[in-house]
Structure formats: C-alpha cells, structure tokens
Symmetry: C2
Subunit: 512 residues, 2 copies
C-alpha cells in the first residue's frame, strides 16, 4: 500500500470531542423474537451497512436507522440507544420507530419504485413514470413524513451536543437534511448518495416540486458527496437548472441563496481485511471445491450480482452467446458461472426480469451445450460464501451494469482473486472512474463490444493479466472504507466560510 | 411585429454570390408515374420541409435530398438538378440516388429506430438498445454508406464553387459533414439538428465508436446549430466527455484539435403568412363548421400531433380523466378533440402505442360519457385542413411531449387561434424556452400538474387569456423561418478565426 492507512484515532482527532452521527435507512442490526420469546439480534446486510460498519470504530459514534421489524419497533420504543456489536462494542445505535403504512410508502413506493428507477435510468419514459395523486400522497405521507421522523430523531440525539457532525446516507433520506438544518443551524451536515445521480434532463421525470424539495434540502448540507465526478457534475447541473444556483470553483461548490455548499467525490470502498479473513473460512472452502469441480479444464467467466434491473444480466448472456458464435474456439474451453441474489421480487418488473435471465441462460445451454459441457451455470440464490469462493477463482469477471452507483463487486473481486483474473467492467459503474487503468471497460448497451472484451480477456497474455490484476488490487487496497469516511469528516470540519457559519442561529433562507 | 422582417435579399447580400446548398434527407418534392405513364410531382410534407421551403427564395440555392421513390431515382439518374416549384421557381433540387437496401438500413434501422429513440429518451434502457452485429452492419453499410453518397453529391455540386455555403440538416446526416470537409477544406459548413440533443449520460446508450464518429464529423462544421440552449449544452458536454474537447466562451464554442466550432441556438419557426392564407381556404371552412357543431355549448381542449411515442397522448388523456374526477364542474362543459396523424406503423412500438391511445380515449368516454355528451373525440387520420380548423378554435391547446425538438404545433396554433386560447406546453419541448412567458408550462410526466394546468387554463380570466395569447403570437410572428435561416448564414459567414481557415488545403486532424 502506497499510502499510510488512516487510523480511527485520526478520525477521533478530527472530531475533537464532537459526536459523529451516522444516519441511514438500514442499520447494522435488526431484532426478532425466537420461539422462546427471547429477543435475538440479526446482523444487517448490504454493501452500505458493510462499508459503514467497517469504517466505524470510534466510541463517540451514534448510528441512527429505521426500525425494520416489529421487535425493532419495540427496541425503538424503549427510547434509548444501545451499544453494538455485542462482542466488540464500537458504537451506539438508535432506531427510528415508523408505522408500517408510511414506511411502505416511503421505502417501496417512493424510494425504490421512483427514486431508484430515476437515478439508474430504469424507466421507460414512454410509459413511466406517470405521477398521479397516489404518488403525491406517497411523497407527503410517506417519504416526507418518514424523513421528518428521522430529522426529529437526529435533532433529539444531538440536542446537548455542540456542533455535532451528522452524516446522512443515501436516496431514502434527502429531505432529512433540510429539516435538521432548520432546527440546528450549527450542525456540521453531510449527505452522501450511494447510487448514481442522473443528468438534469432525466431528473425532469419527477415533479417540479419534488425536484426543488430534494435539491434545496441537500443544499442545507455543508458537504454533498457522491461516488464519482460524473454524479457530482450531474448534481450541480440539477442545482443550476432547477434552483438557479451558481456553480463555482471549477465545479467544487454550489452557491444558493447565502449558502455555499461543497460538492465532492468520495468513492466508497470495502473492508479488504475482513473480506480476506472471510475467504479463509471453512464455509467458503467447501464452495471453492465445488466450483473447481465445475471448472474442470475450462476457464471461468464469473458474475456476481443481485438480480437487479440495473445489473444487465440479460445483455451479459447475449454477449457470451455472441462470443461462442464469433469465436467458436472458446466452446468447451470456457464456462460462465452466474450467481444472482434474488431481490425486490414484490416489484413486477423484477419478477419478469428474473424470468428473462433464466430464459437467456437456458437458451445458451440448449444451443451450445453438450453431454460434456454446460456453457452456463446460473444460480439465483443469496449465498455470500459461494460468491466469495467464485471471486477467488475467476479467470474473467463480468460486471456490466447499465448504470451503477459504485459496483463493489469489482473491488471485492480484485482483492479476493488468486488467478490474475481480468475484470470486464461497465463504463457506467461508479468504480470505472477509479479502476479504468486496470479493468477492461465496456459499453453495457453494446453486446458486440462486451463480447470483444470477454474475448480480449480470455486471450490476454499472462504478463498483462498479472499487471492489470495487480493494478486494480493496488487501487482498491489503497482506498479503503475508513479512508472514505475520514476524507468526508475532514472536509466537513474544514474551517467554514463566514457565509455558512450559522452559529448565530440564522436560518437557511431556502427553507424559510 | 417589433422587428423588421429580414428579406431574402438580405440573405443574398450575405451570400455575396456564393452558392447556398441545403441538404436534408427528405426534399420538397417526390415523383411518381401516373396511369398514363406520365411523371407527376408530389409536394413533400413534414415540418422540416415546410420550414425550409418557406425560407428559401434565393435563386442561388440548391437543395440536395434523397431520391425516395423509384421515379425519384429515375430523376436522380438523369444527373442534373431541376428547378422547383414549377409555378414559382425559387431554387434548384438535386436528388441522391440510393439503393433501397442501404436506404432501409440508414433510414429505418439507424435513424428512426436508434437515433430518434436516443435523442428523445424513448428507450427502455433495461432492454434497449442492445447493439449487436446487425446494428454494426446497418451502421456501416447503411448509415455511413448513405452519408458518403450524400457527401459525394455535395462535393460534386459545389465542385466549381469557391467557398460554398453548405447547410446539412438533421440526424440522418451527421456523418456527411466530416466527409465533405475532408474534400473541401474551404467550405462554409453548418449542421443543424431538428430533434433534441440528449444528456451525455444518455448518449452513452450507443456504441463508443458511433459516438466519436458522430461528434467528430459534426465538429468538422464551422457552426453547429440546435433549437434550444438545453440541446446546445448537452451537445457540448458530449464533446467534452467523449472527445475530450474544450468548451470555451461561456459555452458558445468547442475547441477540438486545431478546430474551433461555434455551437449556437436557432429556434426554428413557421411561415405564418402561408399558414394564415391556408386558414382561409374553403377546405378548412368545412371542418370549422363541423368542429363548431361538435363543440355545442362546450369549451374545447384540442391536441394535434403525430401518433408518436414522444408526443405523450396517453398521459394527456390521463390528465383529462383526472380533471373530470377532481373538478366535476367541467363535466358536460368541456370536450377534448384529439387529432393524431398515423406515423411509423411499421415499428411495433408505434402500433402498440396507437392501440393504447385508442383504449385511453374509449375508457374516458365509457366512464364519463352520457347520451348528450361525449368527452373525447379522437381521430387518427392525416388531415391538415381539419387540424388547421381545430387550431383556429380551441379554448385550450394541450401539447405535452415527453421530449420534443421544437413542437411547431404550439407556434402554428398561436398564430391561427381566434379565441384567445391558452396553450399548455411541455417544459421539455424546444419551443418552451421561447414561449414560456405566454404558455402554461407543465411537466409531461406529472399527470397531476398537467391536470392542474388544464384546469387553470379553463378558469382563467378573459383578460389573462388575451394577454397570454397575444404574447405567444407576438413571439412567433417576430421569429419566422426566414430569420432562422438568415441568422445561420450570417454566423457561418462571419470572419473566420485563423484557426479554422483552411483555404490552404490543410486537412482536419480529427478526420485523418
């Protein structure tokens, strides 16, 4: 590693006694009752939780998250934070109690069916979205209401803290920022978006009032963070087009009213140490053996994704099919192992997409398979151990999302792989900006280019494979999740401009 | 009219003896053989042809266009330009002979199924586009090949002209520009795009090679023109992202290699005089009588569009339906006359969309209609006289495209209407930038806002209606099609910077 790893001590030093409050929809733990009626804790999953959890080791941290289960709501009703995790208490957790009705509107109707689609370009604009009265209700009684509950919780936990540091995570919680600033002009406030930020033209697919409300609230922060330059730029163009805000300092700041807000790029990363430790587990070894049996004499193309509309599995299979057609020399010499976690099956588009994935895989096996060779193995199942095993042993990793906030799989794979595997990565994944020197980039809409990149990866010289794999690994190891957090805290606590120093209690004009 | 109308003489003065060559896919005339075997001429249709035709009165103009019919090809084979129109010879026409196979690839496969969808955000990116080998063939043997035929024709007709002025129109002919520049470094070359230009993120839906080829060719021009600031800005962002070009002079110029290209906004307009003359025809009067019968005592909401995916007819009906639900006082007091021209029925999406339009209209009539009142009259037929009649007499015009290059209907309607009708116009139509002070703008994806705008238009005071109608009409009359052309010629013939003066025969570096 070319740079010294920042220690949590250095974050504590930056904080200088201030409390750090981290806010996200999903927290690091959710509770249930077992059959004996005892409360049991289940660790939260998902890239965001993993990344944040690994970055938090400071005793002065409090994590605010939704109560997801009935038992979480019981914990929330007890009214005081608890320490987490039990075996290695590192931070406090406080849960926000939310009624199931509003939570459904906030989480499913607005966050996942509208904002997620909007920010990944997943709509078919000829038909969607078509915003009507039910969506307005979902916005007002769901999204805005739950954001208000979060804001109430945040202002309550920071009540006695002078100049607290509050870091709000992701697209579920855009509106909480403005609501917190209104009560606490002195807060050091940051919002970080973990998914893409779309171009201003495309941001027009939601109602004008929502656009303003989201952007004005985000500009109540001191720092607004994204994974890539492209998202930062799109965000600033939205501020310009929809608020008339001014972009200055070579696109590092937005001026709106008398606020001046830093817009910064912080590519998130992974906890490499923990991941490598996980690789050594017995539960992974079992899958490694199984995958080596599947490999036989072949080389392995691997993909690991949620079965998400944005992940582009169907076009990935189309590229593989074209490879077998245009380069028949790979027949019987290569296998495609695709591991997909089921996701959001309650949304009809996801169910349909899963069926298309299965049909595409089956069609290739039917067209090209023989008694000795099954060209595609598709497993739709949530199995992290098997995914880790596959990532240690791919020759080529294909990750070709149409648009993707970061794509942590590319980073995890680079750290885990033991065969100088080549990564074929979509140019529309946030990680591409960081990793472009080591990966093979592809246009995810271009089947032919993706096919060519797979071929290029398969015929690459060992020397080039080694150099590329080392390059990507080095970049990932250098920028870990702790560093991601530290840079944000550092920017947040940089000397404020007089423009934004509201310790006098003046209100944010945009929120009056 | 607040400004003096530019005369064609002033364009001739600007040209100063140079030949003006106008290039578009569709020309002002197409030929057939009648049953006696005689050649007969049919006038070309469509907004582009109408606008250009009205702007051209200079004897030194030559219009280059595709031979569309077998008889056009026979005319093209005769090898010399002809004078047009016969009753008022104003310019020369030269047709490009193109074999049907390549023409189909160029026109249907690339221009209409890919570029049109791309530039209007009509794709569903989860599934489309999915660029494979057939698309590459269509690009190379269709689009690029036909652009080469156009370039050959252009260089041949300007062969003996010093410093000719060549104006290439629209998305069919991006590549012709670079090919012409390569042969004729001294040409004054302009490309004008009549449809939207999408955001850089969305331009990524086509292959990297196509992106570069299109942009490099366009930057072989001296001036690149668009209908709106938004499109100009999106284009420059594409030049920056995909070519590494530099945007300077507050976004009025792009520097690429040693070329410096002006990027300008020229909102196209209509020939108001001809349109008003058309309104007085007997064939229109007949339809006015019919429409007044349909009106009865009601007020009329009118729309006039092609039945195009981008025109958003289904959401328009959804907004009307919501209006009748939320404001039942309009029941039996208002009628919605929707006139849609059939279009591109050979593309499956268009056939499906037409069926959805018909179903939406029928559902409203079923839900709200009575023996005395039919809330929607939908006519899917190409009938310009009826459209003109409807535009004279609407109380509210609804034109809510999801994205639309200009939307000439709004301008035509403003000039024709005799009832101080209110125009509800999509904020994503190019015309919105010009007309925003007079129209009621709406977000085309927001059914509720569109409904509110319809209601607002219906309850508006006569004084406000009159002021708005006058404002829009004044803007349209001030900026006619001739002015649109003149501004482009003027910018094209402005003193060249030394950077772009290639009369020494140096080649464009980007095309080497």
């Amino acid at each position: 590693m070319s740079e010294k790893k920042p220690s949590t001590n250095s974050i504590n030093k930056l904080l200088d006694g201030r409390e750090l409050v981290l806010v996200s929809n999903r927290g690091p733990v959710t509770f249930e009752r077992n059959s004996n009626g005892e409360r049991i804790a289940k660790r939260g999953a998902g890239g965001l939780v993993t990344a944040l959890d690994s970055a938090l080791a400071s005793a002065s941290t409090l994590w605010v998250a939704s109560a997801l289960s009935p038992e979480d709501r019981a914990v929330a009703a007890e009214g005081h934070p608890f320490t987490w995790p039990p075996e290695d208490p590192r931070y406090q957790v406080s849960l926000v109690d939310i009624e199931p009705g509003p939570y459904d509107l906030y989480y499913n109707e607005i966050s996942n069916k509208i904002l997620w689609f909007l920010q990944h370009y997943l709509f078919n604009p000829v038909k969607q979205p078509s915003i009507g009265p039910a969506d307005r209700v979902a916005w007002e009684s769901g999204y805005r209401y739950v954001n208000q509950l979060f804001a109430d919780k945040i202002t309550s936990v920071i009540e006695d803290e002078p100049e607290p540091v509050v870091m709000v995570q992701d697209y579920h919680l855009y509106l909480a920022c403005g609501l917190v600033r209104r009560i606490r002009p002195d807060v050091h406030l940051l919002h970080f978006t973990h998914i893409p930020w779309p171009a201003a033209d495309y941001f027009r697919l939601i109602p004008a009032k929502w656009r303003r409300e989201i952007l004005e609230s985000m500009l109540a922060c001191d720092v607004v963070g994204f994974h890539s330059q492209r998202y930062s730029r799109n965000f600033m163009e939205c501020c310009r087009d929809f608020l008339g805000a001014k972009v200055v300092n070579r696109g590092q700041r937005v001026i709106f009213g008398d606020r001046e807000v830093a817009v910064r790029t912080y590519p998130i990363s992974i906890d490499s140490r923990e991941l490598i430790a996980h690789k050594r587990r017995q539960s992974v070894a079992k899958w490694r053996t199984k995958i080596e049996e599947q490999r036989g004499h072949c080389r392995l193309i691997v993909r690991v994704d949620r079965a998400e509309l944005s992940k582009n599995l169907v076009r990935g299979f189309a590229a593989y099919r074209l490879l077998l057609q245009e380069h028949p020399e790979h027949k019987e010499q290569v296998k495609f192992l695709a591991f997909a976690y089921p996701t959001r099956q309650e949304i009809p588009e996801y169910g349909e997409y899963r069926a298309e994935i299965e049909a595409a895989a089956a069609a290739i096996n039917k067209e090209f398979g023989s008694t000795d060779w099954r060209p595609v193995e598709l497993e739709i199942e949530d199995n992290f151990d098997r995914a880790v095993a596959a990532m240690t042993t791919y020759d080529v990793l294909l990750t070709n999302p149409i648009f993707d906030g970061m794509n942590l799989v590319a980073k995890e794979a680079a750290v885990l792989n033991e065969r100088d595997g080549v990564i074929v990565l979509s140019e529309n994944a946030g990680a591409y900006e960081e990793l472009r020197d080591g990966v093979l980039g592809t246009n995810p809409f271009d089947i032919e280019e993706t096919m060519e990149r797979l071929h290029q990866a398969l015929v690459m010289t060992p020397l080039e494979r080694e150099a590329r794999a080392a390059r990507v690994k080095e970049i990932v190891l250098r920028n870990d999740a702790l560093k991601w957090l530290k840079h944000q805290v550092a920017d947040l606590l940089k000397k404020r401009t007089p423009r934004n120093d509201r310790r006098d209690g003046a209100k944010t004009p945009s929120l009056r």
